[in-house]
Amino acid sequence: MSKIRRTIKYESERDGTFAEEIMASPGCEDLLGCFQCGTCSGVCPLSIYMDHTPRQIIYLTRQGFKDEVLRSNTIWLCASCYACYVDCPKTVHITDVMYALKQRAIREGLYPSRFPIPVLAREFYKMVRGKGRLTETWLVVRLLLKTNIFKGFGMWRLGLGLLRTGRFSLAVESMKHPEELRRILDASPAQHGKKEVA
């Protein structure tokens, strides 16, 4: 039998400005309109894996339970399929809220470090910054190096299949002038004045 846990929440555990901060991100302004119908969770293909359903995440955000929200696996399981976004009867752009929460979690260093999804996001981010384009194969390799997802992942078989069909190329894709892109990206202010992650 698992340990009995005390679940009461005190007002002091709430972050009074959290909802407002999230709502400041583009697309998130209707957050407070949510009337908890659960459509988002119902249409979400991944809600069945989430520790909090999307509806609960919206509610917890609104109530300022920042820690619960940012430590939740929900935001990292969101695959950006936008099903909740289009079906929400109150035009809460849930996908955008998830993005805002992901950014916030990365900034606060709250994501699980060996959890591969945020790592992928960061590796992707760095690769594009460097070359201007993405080479999928190298992204996978980097991802493998950073996490320990070898086990239970028959990557070698897939790799062979891709090689056979001529889709596994180790040539690095790049723009002609990635330095120009870097210049533009550097001109763009890092979010909320925080240091750039990459």
């Binding site: 991100s25 583009p26 697309g27 293909p45 991944l46 894996y49 399981l77 695959a79 950006s80 399929c81 936008y82 099903a83 976004y85 289009v86 079906d87 993005y99 805002a100 992901k102 950014q103 990365i106 591969p116 790592v119 992928l120 996001a121 960061r122 992707f124 981010y125 594009v128 201007g132 384009r133 993405l134 080479t135 999928e136 194969t137 991802l143 997802i149 239970g152 992942f153 028959g154 299949g161 891709l162 069909t165 001529g166 889709r167 596994f168 190329s169 894709e173 723009m175 002038h177 120009e180 892109l181 210049r183 533009i184 990206l185 001109a187 763009s188 979010q191 750039e196 992650v197 990459a198």
Partner: protein
């Protein structure tokens, strides 16, 4: 008809068959595609997870290049299509986003007014070129081939307006025009797992598997897609499929099927670049292959 063409990283990588077949089909329909000069990655879903203003700036650089050429911009990859549209919309709707993006672009000597029209080839083929022209171009109708039309998520929603977001029919109509049988496919806009197949395969691959299993249940011979990531997910993880009986389900791009129906040689359509081979089912259904 002429378009600026934004291939995106996937079509230059694992989605090569999509690019090959798209270019071949568009040529057959006398649509000129001109690849955007020194384009960069759209940022996909990953960039937005890290920094949203840089993500918008990244995508907007492509839009700015396209705007100078004044042609509409064709983006075949679902993720690119969505990200470019989203970027354009948010630059317009959120003045602060627009200001930051424009300011950053200026560092590269770009100016972006926001007028680029971003189109998906499916929309262009069905709504601009029209099914009548398609029907006329068909040489070998795909008779007897039962197809599950799979749209995935990011082409039909949330910003595209050319079809219903939960119940699209554009590709159904196109496939019918090619002579194929379209099966009832209630999962046509469900998520394939996206990048989760790579990061959390037990979660991501399961979604792809559900899609394949249901297509089989509905009697489909193959699934057709319009997104390189969907294609990859559906095609690559079938050996991981759980369940009592082993199912294999060939996956194609819709442009490959168009090419087949137009009588193009399989070499021009990248038909060999599938993990689940596609030729056997075509032979079985007696689809003529040039």
């Amino acid at each position: 008809m002429k378009f600026s063409y934004f291939p995106g990283c996937s079509l230059k990588g694992m989605g090569g068959a999509y690019e090959t077949s798209l270019i071949a089909v568009m040529e057959a329909l006398s649509v000129q595609l001109e690849e955007l000069d020194d384009w960069n990655c759209c940022g996909a879903t990953a960039y937005m997870s890290v920094d949203e203003s840089k993500a918008f700036t990244l995508a907007a650089r492509n839009l700015a290049i396209a705007e100078k050429k004044t042609d509409d911009l064709l983006a075949p990859c679902a993720a690119c299509f969505l990200v470019l549209q989203k970027t354009q919309k948010y630059i317009k709707d959120y003045p602060e986003v627009g200001r930051v993006v424009r300011e950053s672009l200026r560092a590269g000597g770009y100016d972006y007014a926001g007028s680029t029209r971003i189109r998906h080839p499916l929309d262009v083929i069905v709504n601009d070129i029209g099914l009548d022209t398609i029907k006329k171009t068909v040489k070998h109708p795909l008779k007897g081939l039962k197809i599950a039309p799979y749209y995935g998520c990011q082409v039909v929603r949330p910003y595209a307006t050319f079809d219903h977001q939960d119940y699209p029919v554009t590709m159904d109509n196109l496939l019918k025009a090619l002579g194929a049988d379209v099966v009832h496919y209630p999962l046509k806009t469900k998520c394939c797992g996206g990048s989760l197949t790579g990061t959390l395969p037990e979660v991501g691959a399961r979604l792809s598997n559900i899609l394949i299993r249901e297509a089989k249940r509905q009697g489909a011979d193959l699934i057709t897609t319009l997104c390189p990531l969907c294609f990859f997910n559906l095609d690559s993880y079938q050996d991981k499929m759980e369940g009592p009986e082993k199912i294999t389900m060939p996956i194609t791009y819709f442009t490959q099927l168009m090419g087949l129906a137009f009588g193009m040689p399989s070499s021009k359509l990248g038909l060999k670049r599938h993990i689940i081979p596609i030729l056997p089912i075509l032979k079985e259904r007696q689809v003529a292959i040039a």
